[in-house]
C-alpha cells in the first residue's frame, strides 16, 4: 500500500500520543479551520512555580496530518516551559514528521495554534499578560496570518486574499478579495472575527467582501 504520508506521520496517526483531555486543565485552547473543517483542542497542566508543562493532551476532529501533528507537538511541548513551548512552530512539527504534503500545511498550523491558544489561555488566567498593546494595523495583519485561505491551505495574508485592513476608533475593517456568496465567505468571516475579537481595544469588526 502506498500512502501520501511519511512513515512517521502514519505512525503518529495510527498510534497518536497524548490523546484525551485533562480535567480542570490550567490552560485550554480550541482552534478550528475554515479551510477543511478540522478542529483541535489542547489541554495543559502547568507547574505554577517552574511554569513547566507537566501534562498535555489533545483531541482532534481532523484528518491524518492534523492528528499526527497534534501528537508530535504535544510530545515536543511536554516538560518544556511555557516560553520554550511557545517557540514550537509548525515548521518544526513538520520536520519532526518527515514532511507533510504542502496542501496539508494548514493542518499542522492548526495543531500548533491549539498549543499556543492553550498557553495564552493559561497566561491570561494567571495575569501573565502584562502590557496591553494598542491594536495597530500591524497587529491586525499578524492575527490574520492565522486565518487560512481555504483555496490554497496557506494563510489569507500570504496569499493576498486580504485587500485592505484598517483600524479606527476600535473599529477594524477587513476587505476580502472574494464574492460575498463564495462557499467559504461566511467561514472566513467567522474566523477573521474570531481571531480579532479577543483584542482588548477592538469594539467592532467589519468584514467586507468584494470581487
Amino acid at each position: 500500500m502506498k500512502f501520501p504520508y511519511s512513515e512517521k506521520v502514519l505512525e503518529h496517526f495510527r498510534n497518536p500520543h497524548n490523546v484525551g483531555n485533562i480535567e480542570n486543565p490550567d490552560g485550554k485552547g480550541l482552534e478550528g479551520s475554515p479551510a477543511c473543517g478540522d478542529m483541535v483542542a489542547v489541554y495543559i497542566k502547568v507547574n505554577p512555580e517552574t511554569k513547566v508543562i507537566e501534562d498535555i493532551k489533545f483531541e482532534s476532529y481532523g484528518c491524518a496530518s492534523n492528528i499526527a501533528t497534534a501528537s508530535v507537538i504535544t510530545d515536543l511541548a511536554r516538560e518544556k516551559t511555557l516560553d520554550e513551548a511557545k517557540k514550537i512552530t509548525w515548521k518544526l512539527a513538520s520536520e519532526e514528521l518527515g514532511g507533510l504534503p504542502p496542501i496539508k500545511a494548514h493542518c499542522s498550523v492548526l495543531a500548533v495554534e491549539g498549543l499556543r491558544a492553550a498557553i495564552r489561555d493559561y497566561e491570561e488566567k494567571h495575569g501573565l499578560v502584562i502590557e496591553k498593546e494598542t491594536t495597530t494595523e500591524e497587529v491586525v495583519r499578524s492575527r490574520l496570518k492565522h486565518v487560512m485561505n481555504p483555496l490554497t491551505g496557506l494563510d489569507i495574508i500570504r496569499t493576498n486574499l486580504i485587500l485592505k485592513t484598517s483600524i479606527e476608533d476600535g473599529v477594524v475593517r477587513v476587505v476580502v478579495d472574494l464574492p460575498a456568496d463564495h462557499q467559504f465567505a461566511s467561514a472566513i468571516k467567522e474566523d477573521i472575527s474570531e481571531k480579532l475579537r479577543s483584542l482588548w481595544d477592538v469594539k467592532r469588526i467589519n468584514v467586507v467582501f468584494i470581487a
Binding site: 483531555n21 477543511c36 478542529m39 481532523g62 484528518c63
Partner: protein, 373 residues
C-alpha cells in the same frame, strides 16, 4: 475488470487489429467494423434504442461534453442560449456548463432537495423559450440518489426542450428505456460496470440537432471524429451483456446491509440520499464527530477502499459539492463516507467493512473533542 471482458477484447488487439473500414474495405477492416457494430448493438438493445442512435466516445466526460456543447452550439442561433443543469451533477456536466457560461450561455443550476432530488417545479419554471437543453443525471455519483426521470422527461417533452441524462453510474443497473421515456441524450461509461477504462458511449435520439465536438474524420455517423477504440467498444459491449438481474439484487443486498448495520450498530450516523431510490451499489453515510480522510486512510490500512466528501480528502480542499448541494453543512461532508460494491464483493465483505468502520469510528471518536456524551 471482468476477465470475460478482457477475453472478448484480446483478439481485437492482435488478429483483428485492423481499424474499422466500410463494407467495401479490406476484409480485416470489415471484421473490425462488424465487432464494433455488435458492441454497439449490445448498448442499443439495453436502452431499447434504434440503430445509429449510439456513438462510442472515450468515456463519460467526453459523452457529456459532446451532449452539452454539441446541442448548445447547434441550437444557439436557432433557439437560444439557455441551459439547465442540476447542482449535484458530476464535474463532467457541471464544468462543461460553466465553460458554456463563459461562452455567453445562460446557465441555471437547478436546486435539489435534502435527499438530492431535483426540484421538479423549479425545473418547470426555469425552462424558457430560450432553453436548448436540460441536463439532469440519473443516479448520483456520491449519494446515489436516483432522479425521477419520468417526471423530468415529461416536462421537457411538454416544453419541447431536449433532455440529456448522465447515466454513468446507473446504466445497466437500473432500467432505462428510451422507448418508454422521451430522453434525447444519455451518457454512459464502461468503467463503472467492470468494463475497460477509456471507453464510453452517448445515446443521441434520431434527428437530434447536435454539432460535432471534435473535428476530423467521419467516424461514428460523423458525430465523433477519430479512429474507433475497437477493443474498448468490444469490452464495453461485453460488460453490458454480463450484467444480470441476480447480480443487481446481490449489490442491493450488500448496500442495504451496510446502510442498515451502520444506522443500527453505530451511533450518530446519518444516511445521505434516499433510502429506497438510490443506486443499487451505493451507500453513503455521515459518521458524525469524525473526519473522512482519517476514516478512509484507516479503512485502506485494513484493505477497504472507501471514499469521502471531506474537504481534507480533496486536492482542492473543497468539501463535496453534492453534500453541500443537498443543504449539508461542512460537518455533514466532513464525516461522509461512500461505500460502493461490485461483482466481486460478497456479503461477508459488507459485514467486515461495517465491523472495521465500527471500530475505526469508535477509535476516532475517542480522539475527537466533539460529541462527548
Amino acid at each position: 475488470m471482468d476477465e470475460r471482458v478482457l477475453e472478448a477484447m484480446t483478439p481485437y488487439f492482435f488478429d483483428r487489429y485492423a481499424v474499422a473500414t466500410s463494407e467495401f474495405g479490406y476484409s480485416m477492416g470489415t471484421e473490425s467494423k462488424e465487432g464494433l457494430e455488435r458492441a454497439r448493438e449490445s448498448i442499443i438493445s439495453k436502452l431499447e434504442a434504434s440503430s445509429g442512435e449510439v456513438i462510442f466516445t472515450s468515456g463519460d466526460t467526453e459523452s457529456s461534453n459532446t451532449a452539452l456543447k454539441g446541442v448548445s452550439w447547434a441550437l444557439k442561433d436557432k433557439k437560444g442560449k439557455h441551459i439547465i443543469v442540476s447542482k449535484i451533477e458530476d464535474f463532467s456536466v457541471l464544468n462543461t456548463a460553466k465553460a458554456l457560461q463563459k461562452q455567453g450561455f445562460d446557465v441555471t443550476f437547478l436546486d435539489v432537495d435534502a435527499e438530492g432530488f431535483a426540484d421538479i417545479d423549479g425545473l418547470r419554471k426555469a425552462i424558457t423559450k430560450e432553453t436548448v437543453l436540460v441536463s439532469i443525471q440519473h443516479g448520483n455519483q456520491e449519494i446515489g440518489t436516483v432522479q425521477d426521470l419520468k417526471a423530468i422527461s415529461e416536462i421537457c417533452e411538454e416544453k419541447d426542450v431536449l433532455l440529456h441524462t448522465d447515466a454513468t453510474h446507473s446504466f445497466t443497473r437500473l432500467p432505462l428505456s428510451v422507448k418508454e421515456l422521451p430522453i434525447d441524450l444519455i451518457t454512459m461509461s464502461a468503467h463503472t460496470i467492470h468494463g475497460p477504462k477509456g471507453i464510453g458511449a452517448l445515446f443521441i435520439r434520431k434527428d437530434t440537432q447536435i454539432n460535432k465536438f471534435m473535428d476530423g474524420g467521419f467516424q461514428e455517423f460523423n458525430l465523433r471524429a477519430g479512429v474507433e477504440n475497437i477493443p474498448g467498444a468490444i469490452g464495453f459491449g461485453k460488460a453490458v451483456e454480463l450484467v444480470t438481474e441476480e447480480e443487481i439484487r446481490h449489490l442491493k443486498a450488500m448496500r442495504d446491509r451496510v446502510i442498515d448495520k451502520s444506522l443500527s450498530e453505530i451511533p450518530d450516523v446519518t444516511l445521505n440520499g434516499n433510502r429506497e431510490k438510490r443506486l443499487p451499489h451505493n451507500a453513503n453515510l455521515t459518521f458524525h464527530y469524525v473526519e473522512g480522510e482519517s476514516i478512509t486512510l484507516l479503512m485502506d490500512m485494513k484493505g477497504f477502499a472507501v471514499s469521502t466528501g471531506s474537504a481534507c480528502f480533496s486536492r482542492s480542499l473543497e468539501s463535496s459539492h453534492v453534500i453541500r448541494g443537498i443543504g449539508g453543512d461542512h460537518e455533514r461532508a466532513h464525516g461522509s463516507v461512500r461505500f460502493t460494491f461490485g461483482r466481486y464483493n460478497h456479503m461477508v465483505d459488507a459485514d467486515a467493512a461495517i465491523e472495521a468502520m465500527s471500530e475505526i469510528v469508535a477509535r476516532l471518536r475517542e480522539i475527537s473533542p466533539l460529541g462527548r456524551k
